[in-house]
Symmetry: C2
Subunit: 358 residues, 2 copies
Amino acid sequence: MAQDGKRRAGATPGASAAARARPPSMADVAALAGVSGQTVSRVANNRSNVDEATRERVLSAMKMLGYRPNTAARALATGRFRMIGVVTFDLRAHGNARVLESVVSAVQDTDYSVSVVAVRSHSEQAVREAFDRLSTQAVDGIIVNEPQMLDTAALRLRSDLPIVVVDRDDRHRYPAVGSDDAEGVRAAVTHLLDLGHHTVAHLAGPQDSYPARRRAEAWHRTLKDAGRLTPPVDYGDWSAESGYLIGRQIAERPDVTAVFAANDQMALGLLRALHEAGRPVPDDVSVVGFDNLAESAYFLPPLTTVNQDFEEIGRQSVALLLDQMESAPAEGTAPRGAAAVSVAPRLVVRGSTAPPRA
Amino acid sequence: MAQDGKRRAGATPGASAAARARPPSMADVAALAGVSGQTVSRVANNRSNVDEATRERVLSAMKMLGYRPNTAARALATGRFRMIGVVTFDLRAHGNARVLESVVSAVQDTDYSVSVVAVRSHSEQAVREAFDRLSTQAVDGIIVNEPQMLDTAALRLRSDLPIVVVDRDDRHRYPAVGSDDAEGVRAAVTHLLDLGHHTVAHLAGPQDSYPARRRAEAWHRTLKDAGRLTPPVDYGDWSAESGYLIGRQIAERPDVTAVFAANDQMALGLLRALHEAGRPVPDDVSVVGFDNLAESAYFLPPLTTVNQDFEEIGRQSVALLLDQMESAPAEGTAPRGAAAVSVAPRLVVRGSTAPPRA
DNA sequence: CGCCGCCATGTTGGCGCTAACATCAACCGC
DNA sequence: GCGGTTGATGTTAGCGCCAACATGGCGGCG
């Protein structure tokens, strides 16, 4: 390993270099094209002030050598990494995976790349650790995709980097993008009331989750606004299993004719519990979910649910982040009142809802 | 030479104010700790030959300044990026998301980071493009998570980088990690035969997918080996919808008493089709899936399926890649017969299978 | 006691690239 | 035609870090 003639600068300047695997550098291209390195740099960066003929010559030299600019060198020289960090949580959760996918996809349309860090627990420390990793790891901006635990107090991130949080909430200080949960919930609950149900029970997500809380609140307000009674809330953990377990209890309450579940997976468990308890859906009980998984249309019965536009959320997050990165190079320090982008959800009516039994 | 002559303030007259709070560099730490930069470097890289007292002094200086090594500079100097690239496909597919998650997780236990590139189509060109992005983007190794289209011919990747493919197949030239599909399928089909079914129909994945093909072949062989008839195969596209559509046809074949679906989502569609056709599962028809989604235990009825250990697959992929990266620094060029790691699947018996009607 | 080798630490050079300035030719209007 | 432009290109000096060598103190051993 020691020798290898690794310094090509030394001897054999023009002669057949040792051809050792070292990738071609700007200097190689420059030599081949008969220009200076700076000109190669200009071509590589698409600067305008290069003569057309020269540009072509350089380009063909690049192609001939299979030249690719060295990202590390560029980053070192410019101080920018052309890289966006994403902090994400459990990818088994459908929504997280969808958001990640669309973020990656959106970033790919720019000349940035994506570095992903996973957080394994919802603790503040875990988030902070992930953050540290990313800050160390040379990114120019960060997208935090963790709608679960974002206590305003908790998320005080040591970071001079632009940040976007995927979570529609007004309470924290970072720019955010997310579904307008309240609107989706209102549509779902109103749909049930319009069908003639007196009120709607709620199978909520975990209490420490922001979106879960928001959905529960929206459910509550919608019923209140309609002058209906608000039955006690049951809290699951987003899983089908919790939906099933809680569903067994719900099934025993004969007064319940309609249930709004905070996500589709819990709704699935609920459907099974109701089925086993001999309470047919939607004849006896109506069920609405939230998320619109690809599978939900094939549940028994097909699930009425609220569709979330994850693609749009990812796209908007990236747009917002890039926006910040450009406008606030590193200066400012003005977190400026945290722009919030809201993406509209949409009710999808299927077979799990019907008027209550006469 | 150690003097501060390097101050940019001196060189650039009247230039932008020094307001730019540049992050602390190694030199800053060195100055504060009263050592040379090289010693700081040694401490940062955990080299052994540093006096304990010195090390502590440097460490505390680092902490005081909030020093983080600059990845770009390090990469430039060493030629290694400490970064692993992952090429992934549709993250809506449960398996892909799971694999990605476990890869990210496993990488996180090393001091590497992960850069993700998504491929949007199964074409060779798309894969190649993703590859180019990654090669340009400074990674030391690549994991390709696309079990779908990996025609040996197609995947001839211009790359001197170590590669691991997530796909258990002997046909291509890269080291690979994947589930032992054949074994899982054998378990599933045998389970049905043992229950007393004469034969088992197959709802397969798309014909251009390797795992789909492998599963179909394994199904075929298992039946052959048992001396059973092999009914015609139907091909879906992995989606619940395709499972439903094809399921409607299957439901019309009275001779069918057991179906093996190539994944859980299609099995879900199939369950619904059978239900609608008045063919109860498992009393009239038994169904087995593949993947073991978290939701599958709550289908109606709970789905018997083959569990894939995605975590293990991710972990092994990373291990294999790191292994390669260390053993074949840049030399060799010997792709060495493509190691293949196989992860054992496991049959999970639930309520969707039963003996055929007497 | 003098030579050797070992260890902790310092010094030098350069990784590949770009910003900022320097240069040089062509060209402008009056 | 001459100062002043403009546009294309070259030159210089690092960006922050690490590999390789250089140095200098110290103990061991014949």
